[in-house]
Amino acid sequence: MAARALARGVRLCSSSIGRSLIFNSVQKRGIAACIDPSIGLSDEQKEFQKLAFDFAANEMAPHMAEWDQKERFPVKAMRKAAQLGFGGIYVSPEVGGSGLSRLDTSIIFEALSTGCVSTTAYMSIHNMCAWMIDTFGNTEQREQFCPDLCSMQKFASYCLTEPSSGSDAASLLTTAKLDDDHYVLNGSKAFISGGGDTDVYVVMCRTGEKGPKGISCLVVEKGTPGLSFGKKEKKVGWNSQPTRAVIFEDCAVPVSNRLGAEGQGFSIAMKGLNGGRINIASCSLGAAHASVLLARDHMCVRKQFGETLASSQFLQFKLAEMATKLVASRLLVRQAAVALQDGRPDAVSLCSMAKLFVTDECFSICNQALQIHGGYGYLKDYAVQQYVRDVRVHQILEGTNEVMRMIIARSLLTES
């Protein structure tokens, strides 16, 4: 058995290595002791994480390039994930969820992301919508929507952004006029993940006055007359999920589909995003972890000037810095997750800090990993470029990193 492992080691470090072996090295569960993501976890959390890593390595990583290049929405693979409980990780078990904590969720998404960032990120958005319905919906709404969402029989999309309101989300223009027992929606949403392929749309729309207090949250089902979609956007990354505009033209939605009270919509949206930000940051972590391992393996293989790249002190230091930032990021995300699940007063700021710091650092880590690969890093045969392209958008959506700074600054300056 030592012989087999050593042979594998020799194969990995020989200079005649084939490309497929480099590509596949991320699928082996990365074992580098100092950045081991299972450090400090409970036995149960380690089990969750192992499950997610195994699923990512077996069911996602072998397909991540194909899903990206063919722009395939991997319904079958996601439903398989849902069977294991990944469809509603922090949704309550009475409506089909797994009832886990935010920290458990972060650990799971971090592990799944090593298999495919784009698909995991979509799953996190889906989970966020399921949670919003579970938390703010009444019994009928929860029973109507949550079981199908948790099993991924149906898929969900989160609709807040509009062509003219991104960071200034509270200025959204989509109106919902009350008419007897239903609302009539008019307007359009932009950049909706899953839009057109998903079944359940959680839509923030204006039922009242200007500003956040006039916004309500409605659940709109695909097939409702007046609901249509724009063209599928062509993106730099996140290609395993379709992105489309969602258009409402005199779209009638029953009042019974409203989550919470009129005027509560913006608050619901923001509460959803707190968790969403931890999840997106967790996805960035997974990509960075995989990238560090890819960079390390490449450094052991690639020779220049008569020795492997791993002998270069500059690259050793670069790798060390990448590893340090990865671990620092991981600690911040997990702290934010704990703060959120404990309902601490600093939770919102901490989630913003985590999203800001981690998405920036992890993009930088993935980018440096690509640089370490040299010319090969720019080829689509190698996974590292997909991690870079996929995590780039994490610095933009779920609240730009600039908006994160606004939230943190407000928290600092309001106190004084």
């Binding site: 058995m1 030592a2 012989a3 492992a5 050593l6 042979a7 594998r8 080691g9 020799v10 082996k28 569960r29 074992i31 002791a33 081991d36 036995d43 149960e44 380690k46 089990e47 969750f48 192992k50 499950l51 195994d54 699923f55 069977q83 294991l84 409980g85 990944f86 990780i89 078990p93 797994s98 886990l100």
Partner: protein, 254 residues
Amino acid sequence: MSARVLVGVKRVIDYAVKIRVKPDHSGVVTDGVKHSMNPFCEIAVEEAVKLKEKKLVKEVVAVSCGPQQVQETIRTALAMGADRGIHVEVSGKDYETLGPLQVSKIMAALAKKEEADLIILGKQAIDDDCNQTGQMTAALLDWPQGTFASEVTLEAEKLKVVREVDGGLETIKINLPAVLTADLRLNTPRYATLPNIMKAKKKKIVNVKPADLGVDVNSRLEVLRVDEPPQRSAGVKVETVDDLLGKLKEAGRI
């Protein structure tokens, strides 16, 4: 029909880890190294759980021998569907020298104590590659054995086992109680699900000492030295067939 199945699960160094030999050549480095359940043991657990789902077996008991950490391995078996676990405590020097003979004595003792009707083990462990525990357990119990099983079916109170052997596939019929060892193609182990991992927390793991089972864990074997295999050396080009024959004779190959 069979009511109770014992499944042995071994905690081994994870298959993906690059193994390093200790500087004193007494063994391989295990401290701080990632461990997981032996892949053939996973297949054994899966087979046992499948039998339970077909209602051919009432209870699946997962057994592991070793220090505190093997409880993780038992928990994985519980998360896959085993009903309860038995942790046979062996630690320190005893654990380092624990081998198939002692484990099979333990399994045999447990089989009698638990009144098991079937024992399923992995065909071998990926750390020592012994491929002995199943066979020794069967011998100690004087039970029939179906080793290298790639297919197991129950036919009229007997087990029909298809075995993968060097010559191809051999089908045998054995009486119960029996010992089976799982080969690679027996099944594809399921993923645990999140709910099952949580349910596994509530399942019981009982601690037992080898002495309680009347088993002496002293090893009859002594490992003298562990070395890495020799580095692959460069080849040599020859000009003629005569040169080739000469070189082969030199190396003692012909």
